[in-house]
């Protein structure tokens, strides 16, 4: 029974494999959050400002989708991207791109639902001013998103938290391939299955530290932005 290095040793020695895994985790989750923001923020803002039949039901559905089970999303994306599936020709299965797609599906409803709530609250508050400014619907959406930009950071962080913590979807569509699709969470799952619980716990602590660091960075950007915006 060989004794492998501990997570602390890997961090202190600057282990290249560990840093590649951290880099991939950040690349996949941040890309997914960026794509999900492109979808979720306009969608959420649009729902906040538009009245249409079935809107209440749609909002309930959107809120419920925040709790999409990752393993189900993973399976659905797997079947879609498989060579035998409808999008098989792109050859995306078992690549980081497939992981980004799966996490985007998981994160977009979170960002959309939180954006909808934020924008709707703002809209109720500033409806008169915005109406007086005589902006078109698109102008209103843009103005409200701009006004809400610091609050929306929280929506993005909630999405990032979901993506960074998730293992069920990416292990199915990524395949946990060493040096290619292995992320922090799938590495933790692997080390647990190899019975190397101390290394798994150590990697878990590294992951939590990274999530805290990303949140601290977002917080200071937000504070700096708020100060300069007065």
């Amino acid at each position: 029974m060989p004794d492998g290095p501990s997570a602390l040793q890997l961090v202190l020695s600057g282990d290249p494999a560990l840093f590649a895994i951290v880099r991939l985790s950040l690349y996949v989750s941040l890309s997914a959050v960026a794509l999900a923001a492109l979808i979720g923020i306009p969608l959420g803002a649009w729902i906040a400002l538009t009245r249409f039949p079935g809107r209440q039901g749609f909002i309930v559905l959107l809120n419920a989708l925040m709790g999409l089970p990752p393993v189900v999303v993973g399976l659905a994306v797997y079947l879609a991207l498989s060579r035998s599936g409808p999008l098989g020709a792109f050859g995306l299965l078992f690549t980081p791109s497939a992981m980004i797609v799966a996490q985007t599906v998981l994160v977009a409803p979170i960002i959309a639902a939180l954006t909808r709530q934020t924008i709707e609250d703002l809209w109720l508050e500033y409806r008169d001013e915005l109406t007086a400014m005589n902006l078109g619907p698109l102008g209103r959406v843009m103005a409200l998103i701009w006004d809400a930009r610091f609050s929306l950071v929280t929506a993005l962080l909630a999405g990032f938290g979901r993506a960074a913590a998730e293992v069920g979807a990416i292990i199915i569509v990524g395949g946990n391939i060493e040096g290619f699709t292995r992320t922090m969470t799938t590495a933790i799952a692997l080390e647990t299955s190899r019975g190397d619980l101390p290394l798994a716990v150590g990697l878990g602590l590294v992951l939590i530290s990274i999530v805290i660091a990303v949140n601290a960075l977002a917080w200071s950007v937000r504070r700096a932005g708020e100060r300069s915006a007065g």
Partner: protein, 277 residues
């Protein structure tokens, strides 16, 4: 949806597809294999040698044998490297695999708590050992995931004349997970479990577990490799995949397999030259 959003979405989708094409350009294959070959550390030992020789990256997706064969069947892997000969022969006869090559073997061992509630420690008769476990109602963890090890376990119950689907009691727990998870569960609950020797030797969370029974001929565990049929799935990289198979069954590849040891103990025994294996 605004025009801008739509454009951004299209750009994002396009960049995803481009990124994947860039990846597809380099020399790499996807091998669907079993948790035992990965968890034991065999791939980490032999793949760098293959890469140095042929310059091909091998991306291993470690699954149970049943799932790995299914991945091949769907065309999502170029090569399948597993351990359940009847299932492999079916895979080839159905036209999903080109040809099955024997690669190596090791053996299954029965793992159990040192307290040995079934009283089978040191047994060389796996059938008698399993019968004793059932008679005493000692806790037993089954993979329950259609993996090669699970299929071997089911076969051993059958040889013992026990219809496990009907005769199982609360002592028999199917966890539906990989080898490592099954060993973790056995370790936490002091239960018996059938394992492949390779995963056991590299497994670290042993707790109070040890080998309860080994050395029975019926515990033989043969591994085979197959190229996924490019006629079924044109996306299969047949030349690169065949290079990997050829290397693995060459004398160089076979030596690399034999050279993988943990604490001086060899984990896998190459036997590609044994055409009946």
């Amino acid at each position: 949806m605004s025009m801008l959003t739509r454009r951004l979405l299209i750009a994002a989708t396009a960049s995803l597809v481009f990124a994947s094409h860039a990846v597809a350009q380099d020399k790499s294959i996807v091998v669907a294999s079993t948790t035992s070959t990965q968890d034991s550390g065999l791939f980490a030992h032999i793949l760098p040698m293959f890469k140095a020789r042929n310059g091909i990256d091998v991306k291993v997706v470690a699954q149970g044998t049943g799932q790995a064969l299914d991945t091949g069947r769907r065309g999502d892997a170029d090569v399948v490297f597993v351990h359940a000969k009847p299932a492999e022969e079916k895979f080839v006869s159905e036209g999903f695999g080109v040809r099955r090559h024997p690669v190596m073997y090791n053996d299954f061992i029965l793992i159990g708590p040192k307290s040995d509630p079934a009283g089978i420690k040191g047994s060389k008769d796996i059938v008698a050992a399993l019968s004793a476990i059932k008679a005493k109602g000692a806790d037993f963890i089954s993979r329950g995931d259609k993996s090669g090890t699970h299929q071997a376990e089911l076969n051993l119950w059958k040889i013992a004349g026990i219809d496990i689907a009907k005769d199982k009691g609360p002592w028999y727990k199917e966890i539906g997970q990989g080898m490592g998870a099954a060993l973790n569960t056995a370790s936490a609950s002091n239960a018996y479990v059938l394992a492949d020797r390779g995963t056991w030797l590299s497994f670290k969370n042993r707790g109070d577990l040890g080998i309860a029974a080994e050395g029975d001929k019926r515990l033989f565990n043969q591994y085979g490799i197959m190229l996924v049929n490019p006629e079924k799935h044109p996306s299969v990289k047949k030349d690169l995949g065949q290079q990997f198979i050829d290397w693995l069954i060459s004398s160089e590849g076979q030596k690399a397999i034999a050279g993988y040891k943990i604490n001086g103990e060899q984990l896998f025994y190459p036997n590609a030259s044994d055409s009946g294996a």
